[in-house]
Amino acid sequence: MNSRVLIVAEHDGTKLNPSTAKCVTCARALPQPEIVIAVLAADGGNVSTQAAALQGVTRVLRVDQPGNAHALAATWAPQVVALAQGYTHVLGPSTTFGKDLMPRVAALLGAPQVSDLMAVEGAQKFRRPAYAGNAILTVEAPAGSPVVATVRVASFEAAATGGSAPIESVNLKVELPAHTRFVSIAAGSTDRPDLQTATRVISGGRALGSAENFKLLYNLADKLGAAVGASRAAVDAGYAPNDLQVGQTGKIIAPELYIAIGISGAIQHLTGIKDARTIVAINKDAEAPIFEVADFGLVGDLFTILPELEKLIG
């Protein structure tokens, strides 16, 4: 049977988030997929063009609507549900955007949701992590309702561009709720490489000791063109903004190179970096659990190691 897949695009109004291209790759693993991307926006012109360029996409549905200027789940969900009629699969990324929206869609469709889909094993059969990644479940979605899933973006490569799918404007007759309103957004660290897509990431933990010291990491990161991440302890202590948190309850990342500095390696942190190609750990405690997963470990004081590293790399 053909899979008819609807993917809800994540974007900021002008740029398509790379998470969407990863959802496309996930969708392509389904049996005989016909892949449609839904772009909900106030003015989805640019984003639709970017979505249409993803290889493997059959069609882009553009839903322009002033109320879609911000991705409010309560506003978007009924529209996604209206679009979803006739689809076998409805996918969104497992980013805060998709995690917020997709369960609302699933509930309205009366379907269970597959969270953090990491591998497709059949039209209804998938693998997903649980227990902070300590168990991998193989689950089967029931027949009778569409499969709703969030796609674990670290598990899939981004689909290539170069395609040119047709873009169709859609007018939806859906009543939108007025009970939820956008107020503001305080962007975290927009001037730096994006943590979720960077090929190199340098993370700091509690050992950095202050926001001032945490900046040492930025110098090194700049030299490497790396994104900066943090442990929960570093975020809780106010050394780094919340959007830098890596781990079970932060971001799940898969860079080529991950350098953990002054991070002990709690399971909740390790969940976020399992798919990193190479892990480097710098810690003064030779017994720190981070060394159990590190490809290269260096035991010592970060405050002497960091300047030396910077010098040798620069």
């Binding site: 917020d100 709720p177 957004i185 660290s189």
Partner: protein
């Protein structure tokens, strides 16, 4: 009377190193320490603070789970909840079923606010609050790191990938908690004694008369691929050389 309903899930304690059973039928839970889901402790703490500010009169905690969940509900009562409801279910309830059950409680209790955790750290689903809000037809404010109530509305700051987003929702609404919303209080011994006298009602799941929810079938549980322990280098030059050799620098 303004009431806050808080969801409490009994889960394997976050300090336990979870092991998969060799036959792939699940994870080992026999003899393992069970606790309140950490995000739900934060949810309860927030509800208590709202009540202490005089913005709510009653905090009700509810759980859908096995009879043993009474332990976690007693802890919640000791933390300061006024009343507990245990919906007894012997098989595992997935988020859609949990959301439908909590909705049934919402219909009975008529809370002005429902606070849940953003995710249960056993199944890591991160769904129930959003599903409840959808079924209830009410706003959701997920991943909250700050909540402010005023005049029938809540301003909620949310931890999102791009930074911190603030939204305003009309009440009643569903809020789900992120880690930095607050630091839950410690329970003191006298409170544990007092909690024994607080009401804890138990009712069977069937009594809620919810529609049976379609579920995911778990076919198999496997351990994750293990990373190999690598090498310890002796100094920075050796580290840099090793990374260069792998083409990483």
């Amino acid at each position: 009377m303004s009431k806050i309903l808080v969801g409490i899930k009994r889960v394997v304690d976050f300090n336990v190193r979870v092991r998969v059973k060799p036959d792939g039928s699940g994870v080992v839970t026999e003899g393992v320490k069970m606790s309140i889901n950490p995000f739900d402790e934060i949810a309860l703490e927030e509800a208590l603070r709202i009540k202490e500010k005089g913005l709510a009169q009653e905090v009700v905690v509810a759980s859908i789970g096995p009879a043993d969940t009474q332990q976690q509900l007693r802890t919640a009562l000791a933390m300061g909840a006024d009343r507990a409801i245990l919906v007894q279910a012997d098989s595992l309830v997935q988020p859609l079923a949990a959301a439908r059950a909590i909705l049934a409680l919402v219909k009975r209790e008529q809370p002005m606010l429902v606070i849940l955790g953003k995710q249960a750290i056993d199944d890591d689903n991160n769904q129930t609050g959003q599903m409840l809000a959808a079924l209830w037809g009410r706003p959701q404010a997920t991943f909250a790191s700050r909540v402010e109530l005023k005049e029938g509305k809540a301003q909620v700051t949310r931890e999102v990938d791009a930074g911190l987003e603030t939204i305003e929702v009309d009440l009643p609404a569903v809020i789900t908690t992120d880690l930095r919303l607050n630091e839950p209080r410690y329970v003191k011994l006298p409170e544990i004694m007092k909690a024994k006298k607080k009401p804890l009602d138990t009712l069977p799941f069937a009594e809620l008369n919810t529609e049976a929810a379609p579920q995911l079938r778990v076919l198999r549980t496997d351990p994750p691929a293990q990373r190999q322990r690598g090498v310890i280098v002796k100094d920075v030059p050796e580290l840099v050389a090793a990374l260069k050799k792998k083409g990483l620098l």
